[in-house]
Symmetry: C3
Subunit: 159 residues, 3 copies
Amino acid sequence: MGDTKKTTIVLFSGDYDKAMAAYIIANGAAAYDHEVTIFHTFWGLNALRQETNIPLKKGFMEKMFGKMMPRGADKMGLSKMNFAGFGPKMIKGVIKKHNAMTLPQLIEMAQEQDVKLVACTMTMDLLGLQKEELLDNIEYAGVAAYLADAQDGNVNLFI
Amino acid sequence: MGDTKKTTIVLFSGDYDKAMAAYIIANGAAAYDHEVTIFHTFWGLNALRQETNIPLKKGFMEKMFGKMMPRGADKMGLSKMNFAGFGPKMIKGVIKKHNAMTLPQLIEMAQEQDVKLVACTMTMDLLGLQKEELLDNIEYAGVAAYLADAQDGNVNLFI
Amino acid sequence: MGDTKKTTIVLFSGDYDKAMAAYIIANGAAAYDHEVTIFHTFWGLNALRQETNIPLKKGFMEKMFGKMMPRGADKMGLSKMNFAGFGPKMIKGVIKKHNAMTLPQLIEMAQEQDVKLVACTMTMDLLGLQKEELLDNIEYAGVAAYLADAQDGNVNLFI
């Protein structure tokens, strides 16, 4: 037990490329037998959204956030050279060419490797995101649970 | 003494949402009895600026930076969906609705919990920020002091 | 051996100011006798590009990325207040005024202090960057090598 290494990542960013980096490190650490947690907060929650529109009762501002934010990993933009959506197309093009994994594939792999995917409940409230809109088999927690993991972590990153 | 856990955060970003995340983690860690330091560097220094304009002798470039950068936590923009200031209004709206804490309130709470707030003296020089413009009861240090804290840290983040 | 402290930095960002922060921390840690690694991935690879155009055979998308991305540390933009290149001029102005070090000088210093500069081979493939275009005396590795370093690291940052 005491020998298991731990990796925790706070995924704050809603950018495709940054989320790729987070999930590549997480999958690598899981392959290394680390216990791995990705704590999704703020815009990072968008990586956990389902692509289909789930009709839900929401207030005005929550509806606005819901519409303006990308619905799922595949819809996210780049942190650099986004060029109104052309950049993500280029990245996805080279990913395909090099037989690398797309972000949705990296997330699926993380779930298969038992990486713990956590959605931050406090920022879900702020952005008006509900459990019904997010992927199955994820956990829900707050900053206290994150810190309980991170304080014993060997690799702790904020992305 | 050796049992006290340590959290250190480099706050590089000048974005309202990223600074919120930094201060939420810092306040959580302080509530967990961690020794917590936030080292403010580059644009993160703006979170420590006072709202009122303090007239000071400055060179041309220092004056420019002073005018262009947000004067205090409440004036900072969002890293995503800023929409010329509309995004921050939305975030502040949902913070109020959910009885969550604004960034200035989170900073005040951190000071009450004895989170050590440090301003990076090297980047203060570069950006022309002077002690008179910054909040009271903060510390001033450089990268060596940051590393002395971080090398014994349990949770070290760059935000 | 067991007493040597370790610092590892993932440099994901291609921004001049963020790369400055990464290299300032890395040089500080090296001066403190830490074993220091900077793992350059995605846009952070641009900090390792040579300024001169090295003609190489590349596919269409790789050529596009090569043209659109900054060629070397000196050409990188700011994460904030870039203003189409005016921001970097201002920063370089105040760096000169305060006798601080530019990013290319910080990189040179890191190499002199034996900071291990690593280029991520997976993202080199994606962005079409080749060894001939990058600085001499750097290493090439993937996420597994990064994790092997980071899991024993005292200070691990993602920038």
